[in-house]
Symmetry: C2
Subunit: 205 residues, 2 copies
């Protein structure tokens, strides 16, 4: 997924200082865009607000992202990839502890990235020009998250029901993220995660 921005986050080879600066500016805009969306929602998130937050001129921002839709979809995709890489990096050698994996997967859905993505999804449900792009983005990010969960949980998807078991876990994680939107749901969430991680561990054998 996301070949373009994977390159952006990869090692910089044979690039001049000008390209480096441009890459850093782009990255700052993407991170500011996610923070802005998480805090102010879609209605309060414009290219100008993000440019100011990133300390970049409006012209420079528009050089990188032609439209508001370009900026915010790229931002959610970029941060989702960063979070996916970080999740894999938590278990570099794999782990026998499936409960730790479940907890880490659920964590993906409780921070600013989930909040930003939620604002984007909900805005897309009423705005035609966003809808198809966000639908595509959701599919890509969803596939990647599923793949990571399968790998880290050592789930054998050739066994009937295993694919759906992992999908249900990710749906639960998404619902837990939503439950955390207005209040700090950490206490309840930890107990639910412990219980369902045990169920999953039993089932995956």
């Amino acid at each position: 997924m996301g070949v373009v921005s994977m390159t952006e986050t990869g090692p910089v080879v044979e690039r001049g200082p000008k390209q480096d600066r441009s890459r850093v500016t782009r990255q700052r805009l993407l991170e500011a865009a996610v923070a802005c969306l998480a805090e102010h929602g879609w209605a309060g998130s414009t290219v100008s607000v993000v440019a100011e937050r990133a300390g970049v001129s409006r012209g420079a921002a528009q050089h990188h992202f032609r439209t508001r839709e370009d900026l915010f979809t790229a931002a959610v995709e970029y941060v989702a990839e960063e979070r996916s890489l970080a999740l894999r990096a938590l278990f570099p050698e794999g782990t026998a502890d499936r409960r730790a994996v479940v907890a880490a997967v659920v964590d993906l859905f409780t921070g600013p990235l989930f909040r930003a993505a939620l604002h984007l999804w909900v805005a897309a449900s009423n705005e035609e020009q966003l809808r198809s792009r966000v639908t595509e983005l959701e599919a890509r990010v969803g596939r990647e998250t599923h793949r990571i969960a399968v790998d880290l949980l050592r789930a054998d998807e050739t066994v009937p029901g295993v694919r759906e078991t992992v999908q249900g876990l990710l749906d639960m994680a998404r619902g837990l993220g939503l439950a955390n939107l207005l209040t700090d749901d950490t206490g309840r969430r930890d107990k639910v995660v412990a219980q369902w991680a045990a169920l999953l561990d039993e089932k995956l054998g």
Copy 2:
């Protein structure tokens, strides 16, 4: 929960035709408000738009609901109660079929009510005047949904882990609702629900 609107939906005893008309107007406003919120989101949902949709004058709407916040929180609560009553009515004598119960509970989260509630929750995360009211509303509706799920699933919450198992199911249902926001997710959802209903049935014994 919701004593006021429970009375509204109960049998009309010793009421004059004027009170009946007022009750019918209120009900039409509440139903129109949920439909409007589901279709147009919070930004596109005003008292005027709802009044027009319900075929009621703006003055009459404001007689029933002083503020936009009053109208939309009352609407989501009213329709949530209607849906809860309908869910209980599906299994008037209880049922041995837990999979049917899980499917019916998940259905609560895939229609216009969930969509409307989602718009309200997300708006509340950025708007101070909505936040505390929606937080309270979410807690009340959440408790009632949990109670119904426990009853219909014949779940014994004195057994350790059972409470969290049911909560996790409701979190999964919420996440499945979110996954259905931009695309019709019915095919995938049915398989996930079948798998987790079987797991739950095993676990609850």
